[in-house]
């Protein structure tokens, strides 16, 4: 087994969550979901479709840092950004929205707008961009490179991207699954089907359950099984390194 970086584990874990035939959409800073999509498509999901927001390119083989990089124009097909915006609102065509935030909370809400009071924030983020479209996608996969109590909080200070309903009566406009997975460098996390609160799914190699719980700013609950994440295989790693080269 090769050595691998936390980012490689993150990408591999994310790629395993994509199912054959799904249509994935990602926005700014696409590196992690783009690598995960390409890996999934090469390995277990040949029918995967992935759209890099900004440029609207479908299934690009370029690997740029920016979602609007001119190198993306080499894709076979691109949707105009205005069409991507339309489809994001349709509610029946996109399967997975890859989301993140300055804060992610116990119900899977994402905050990319402001930490602290919105009017005088402690940290102003870029803004909500496409995150309000989350409830119009069948499910969302949330990822963060920073698993710590400042990022994973009980309740976000500002909801940019809606997660699961906090109250049983909260209505959603479409019949969607909501956030299905949160991937971090330490663990995979899912959601309790009853309470819709985040809970541990599997701990990545090199980390322990108590360590993950300590790094999380809310109670992950207990009384459920927690697995060990299967480490990246040589095949996954080799392919991933080709993709990210």
């Amino acid at each position: 087994m090769s050595d691998y970086s936390p980012t490689e584990m993150l990408v591999v874990a994310m790629s395993r969550a994509f199912r054959d035939g799904e249509v994935i959409v990602m926005g700014a800073v696409p590196a992690v979901p783009l690598a995960a999509c390409r890996l999934a498509k090469a390995l277990h999901a040949p029918g995967l479709t992935y759209i890099v927001g900004g440029s609207g390119t479908v299934n690009p083989t370029a690997f740029p840092s920016s979602s609007c990089d001119p190198s993306l124009a080499t894709g076979v097909v691109a949707l105009p950004l205005t069409d991507v915006v339309l489809l994001e609102g349709r509610g029946d065509i996109l399967d997975v929205f890859c989301a993140g935030g300055l804060q992610i909370d116990a119900h899977g809400n994402c905050n990319l707008t402001a930490v602290g009071d919105w009017a005088r924030p402690d940290l102003r983020g870029p803004g909500s961009v496409g995150l309000p479209f989350l409830p119009a996608t069948r499910r969302s996969v949330i990822y963060t490179a920073t698993h710590n109590p400042k990022t994973l909080v009980e309740r976000v200070d500002f909801v940019s991207g809606p997660g699961h309903p906090r109250e049983a009566g909260d209505r959603r406009p479409y019949q969607q699954e909501g956030p299905s997975l949160v991937v971090t460098p330490m663990a995979n996390l899912g959601f309790d089907p009853e309470s819709h609160r985040m809970r541990l799914q599997s701990v990545h190699p090199g980390h322990t359950e108590p360590e993950v719980r300590d790094a999380t700013g809310f109670d992950l609950g207990s009384g459920y099984p927690v697995a060990a994440t299967t480490p990246p295989s040589d095949r996954e790693l080799n392919l991933l390194r080709e993709i990210m080269a």
Partner: protein, 264 residues
């Protein structure tokens, strides 16, 4: 009506009056009309409302750093993998910038409404579950959907007084070719009451593909390299060192001021 070929400073002086709303194109760090934006900053023209693409970077952060932006309507100001927008962030955290909080969907649709003479436009479902409308109640309002009787969130048409976008090239008649993904710049161009197009070059016949006819354009600014440090697709990539230089400089008001001083 044929567009006039003007320098960036001339176009700014003749078309952009202080206090107007200004729509600035380019998505993230690609195809930002920096020659015109820098001319606005050099001329110290106050922007009543800065309207951006769904995602914007230095084309918004620079005029904010110069203290020229009263209000900003933008769903994203940042530099993607390079980091947050230093001037936007500082101004927001100090409460010195009026941020008209919005999101990509409603903003794109608001430009569509502006381009088409629609008075307002409903949002697709989702945004009502966020804190965005509450942060900008003048923009996100509700009205009854007369087809199901249920209140829906709507936003007003957005019509910048002047829109500025960057395209690849113009012909001598003033028709322009994008030479790139148009992102939302077509809508921004159509929604603007007046349109300035910055181009890299003038050619006898424009490249087939996405284009805009001369009659829509008030002024063309020929500015080779004028998108730098952002990318001009097909000609040059984003200058990441240049973008980083801005991010570094703008960490302090003094650094930003020195950067802006050096533009002149």
């Amino acid at each position: 009506m044929t567009p006039r070929f003007l320098s960036a400073s001339e176009a700014v002086a003749e078309l952009i009056e202080p206090g107007l709303s200004l729509g600035v194109g380019g998505m993230h760090s690609t195809a930002a009309p920096m020659a015109v934006v820098e001319a606005v900053v050099r001329s110290r023209i106050e922007i009543g409302m800065l309207v951006t693409s769904p995602s914007t970077s230095i084309q918004a952060d620079l005029p904010i750093a110069a203290g020229l932006v009263r209000q900003i309507l933008s769903p994203y100001v940042g530099f993607e993998h390079l980091g947050l927008a230093p001037a936007f962030r500082r101004a927001a955290e100090a409460g010195e910038l009026e941020i008209l909080e919005c999101d990509e969907g409603s903003m794109t649709h608001a430009l569509y409404a502006g381009a088409g003479g629609l008075p307002f436009i409903p949002c697709p479902p989702g945004v009502e579950l966020t804190d965005v409308p509450g942060a900008n109640p003048a923009y996100y309002r509700r009205t009854v959907d007369p087809f199901d009787g249920i209140e829906k969130v709507v936003v007003p048409a957005v019509r910048p007084d002047v829109s500025v976008i960057a395209c690849l090239e113009a012909d001598h008649d003033g028709n322009v070719a994008f030479g790139r993904f148009p992102f939302t710049d077509r809508l921004l161009a159509l929604a603007g009451r007046k349109l300035i197009v910055q181009v890299e070059r003038v050619v006898d016949r424009i490249t087939p593909g996405e284009s805009l006819p001369a009659f829509l354009i008030a002024a063309i600014v020929v500015a080779p390299g004028g998108c730098r440090p952002t990318a001009s697709p097909g000609l040059y990539p984003a200058d990441e060192d240049g973008l980083r230089a801005w991010i570094r400089a703008a960490r302090t008001p003094e650094g930003a001021a020195a950067y802006i001083e050096a533009l002149s």
